[in-house]
C-alpha cells in the first residue's frame, strides 16, 4: 500500500503557492478543512482563486483568508453569511463567479473524472447563461458548463487511513468527495487516522487514489451557524 501520511497541516500545505487555484470542501461551515485553512493563514500567500460552495463567515473558515486579502477570486454558489465578502465584492476588490450549486458540484465531479464539459438546464434564460453555448436536446434547452480542477484540493473527512481512503459523516460529506477527485494534489485532514486495513473497504466513500496527503487534524471547532433546537 502507498503511504500518504504527513505529520501535520503545516507540512501538508508546505508547497501551496501564490496565484494557485484551491478547492475547499464544506457546506457552510459543515465539513470544512479547518486545520488546513489555519495552516494556510500562517503562510504569505496572495492572488489565490478559491473554489468553495460558500465563503465561510467573517471570523471563521475561508472568511479569515478573505480578511487577510489572500484571495483574488472566489468561485461559489452562495456567500450570504459573510459581510466582509460582500464588502470586498461590491467595492471591486474581489472577483467572484457565482455558480448554481448543482452546476458547481457537477463541474468539480466532471473535472476530476476527465470530462471537459457537460450540458445542464440550470441557468438557461438567466445571466448565468451569458457567453455560454446553448443547445437543445429533446425539446429542452441546456447550457454548456466546463469541468473544474485545482492545483490543491483541501478536504475534511471523519475517518481516513494511511492509504488515503476516506469516510465522511453526516452532511459533512457535501463537496468533499468530488473535490478530492479534482485536485492535482489533494490534501485530506481527518478526525481519526488509522493504519491501512482497519477501515472496511465496503464503507470507503473516497478511494485513496485521489488523495496525495493525509493527516489527523486537531482541535476541531465545528462551529454551528444556526443552532436550532426543539424542546423534545
Amino acid at each position: 500500500m502507498i503511504t500518504k501520511t504527513v505529520t501535520n497541516a503545516a507540512e501538508a500545505v508546505k508547497d501551496v503557492f501564490s496565484d494557485s487555484v484551491l478547492m475547499f470542501g464544506g457546506f457552510g461551515l459543515c465539513g470544512i478543512p479547518e486545520n488546513c485553512i489555519q495552516a494556510l493563514l500562517q503562510k504569505d500567500l496572495h492572488g489565490l482563486t478559491c473554489i468553495s460552495n460558500n465563503a465561510g463567515v467573517d471570523d471563521f473558515g475561508i472568511g479569515l483568508m478573505l480578511k487577510k486579502r489572500m484571495v483574488k477570486k472566489m468561485i461559489s454558489s452562495y456567500v450570504g453569511e459573510n459581510a466582509e465578502f460582500e464588502r470586498q465584492l461590491l467595492s471591486g476588490e474581489l472577483e467572484v463567479d457565482l455558480i448554481p450549486q448543482g452546476t458547481l458540484a457537477e463541474r468539480i465531479r466532471a473535472g476530476g473524472a476527465g470530462i471537459p464539459a457537460f450540458f445542464t438546464p440550470a441557468g438557461v434564460g438567466t445571466e448565468v447563461a451569458e457567453g455560454k453555448e446553448i443547445r437543445e436536446f429533446d425539446g429542452k434547452m441546456y447550457l454548456m458548463e466546463k469541468g473544474l480542477i485545482a492545483d490543491f484540493a483541501f478536504v475534511k473527512a471523519w475517518k481516513g487511513d494511511t492509504a488515503g481512503n476516506l469516510i465522511f459523516k453526516g452532511t459533512a460529506r457535501n463537496f468533499n468527495p468530488m473535490m478530492a477527485t479534482a485536485g492535482k494534489i489533494t490534501i485530506a485532514e481527518v478526525e481519526e487516522l488509522v493504519p491501512a486495513g482497519q477501515l472496511d473497504p465496503n464503507h470507503i466513500h473516497t478511494p485513496g487514489i485521489y488523495v496525495q496527503r493525509i493527516f489527523q487534524g486537531e482541535d476541531y471547532e465545528k462551529r454551528i451557524e444556526q443552532r436550532t433546537v426543539s424542546k423534545g
Binding site: F27, G28, L29, C30, G31, N53, S76, S77, Y78, V79, G80, E81, E86, L89, L90, V96, L98, P100, Q101, G102, T103, L104, A105, E106, I108, R109, T120, P121, A122, G123, V124, G125, T126, E127, V128, W158, F168, K169, G170, T171, A172, R173, N174, F175, N176, P177, M178, H205, K222, R223, I224, E225, Q226, R227, T228, V229, S230, K231, G232
Partner: protein, 219 residues
C-alpha cells in the same frame, strides 16, 4: 391576510403521498410542520440528505448534521446521506417531485426571480437555479407585494431571473394562484377577509378570475 404560518399550512395541502420534496429557506421550511401525518413523504436537503427530521433536542445536536439553511437537524428512520453531486443528480434528473421556495418576483409566464438585487444583494443563487430548472412541480411562497407596496406578481420580472417558465403555483398572504401553461395567473382562492378586488389591484401581471373565488378556511 395570511401570516407566514398560514401560508405554510396552505402549501402543505398541496403535498401528495409518496413525494420527495425539496423545501427552500424561510416559509417553505415551515411547510414540513404541517404535512398531514397520514402522508408518506421524504424531505430532501440539497447539502446531502434524504429524510430530514425535526430539530434536535439540546443533547442531540450534531454539527455534522445540518440542512441547507445551515440549521442543526436530525434524520428520520430510513434516511440516506450522499454528496453534493449525487444530490443535484437527483434534482436535475427529475427524481425530486416537488420544490417549494420563496421568491422576490414571479412573472405571468412562470419566470422566477429570487437570487439577486443588482448593486445591493449578492448572496448567490445556491441551489435555486438547479431546482427550478428541473423540478416537475414548483410552488412559490411569498408576500403578494413588496414592503413598499409594489406587486410581486408581474408581467415580466424586473430583477435578474433565477429560472424561466417554471413556477406552477403561488401562495401569497392574499391568495392562491396557478400559473397557466399559456401564461397568466389564475386566481383560485383568497385569504380570509381579502376581496377579489384587492387581489386584482395588487396583481400587475395578467390575472384570470372566473366565477366565485372561495375563501380559504383554516382550523
Amino acid at each position: 391576510m395570511l401570516d407566514k404560518t398560514q401560508i405554510a399550512k396552505r402549501i402543505a395541502r398541496e403535498v401528495k403521498n409518496g413525494q420527495y420534496i425539496n423545501l427552500g429557506i424561510g416559509i417553505p421550511t415551515l411547510v414540513a410542520n404541517y404535512i398531514p401525518d397520514n402522508l408518506e413523504v421524504v424531505l430532501q436537503s440539497e447539502n446531502g440528505l434524504l429524510g430530514i427530521g425535526p430539530f434536535p433536542t439540546e443533547d442531540k445536536i450534531d454539527p455534522d448534521l445540518i440542512n441547507a439553511g445551515k440549521q442543526t437537524i436530525t434524520v428520520v428512520k430510513g434516511s440516506a446521506l450522499f454528496n453534493s453531486a449525487d444530490s443535484f443528480a437527483m434534482i436535475r434528473g427529475g427524481h425530486v417531485h416537488l420544490t417549494i421556495l420563496g421568491a422576490m418576483e414571479v412573472s405571468e409566464n412562470g419566470d422566477i426571480a429570487n437570487w439577486k438585487i443588482p448593486g445591493k444583494m449578492v448572496k448567490g443563487m445556491g441551489g435555486a437555479m438547479d431546482l427550478v430548472a428541473s423540478a416537475e412541480n414548483i410552488i412559490v411562497a411569498m408576500q403578494h407585494c413588496s414592503k413598499d407596496g409594489q406587486s410581486k406578481l408581474l408581467k415580466e420580472c424586473s430583477l435578474p431571473i433565477t429560472g424561466i417558465k417554471c413556477v406552477k403555483k403561488i401562495v401569497t398572504d392574499l391568495a392562491v394562484l396557478d400559473v397557466l401553461p399559456g401564461g397568466g395567473f389564475k386566481l383560485l382562492e383568497r385569504a380570509p377577509g381579502v376581496t377579489v378586488k384587492e387581489i386584482i389591484s395588487k396583481t400587475d401581471g395578467k390575472l384570470l378570475v372566473e366565477g366565485e373565488i372561495p375563501e380559504m378556511v383554516f382550523d
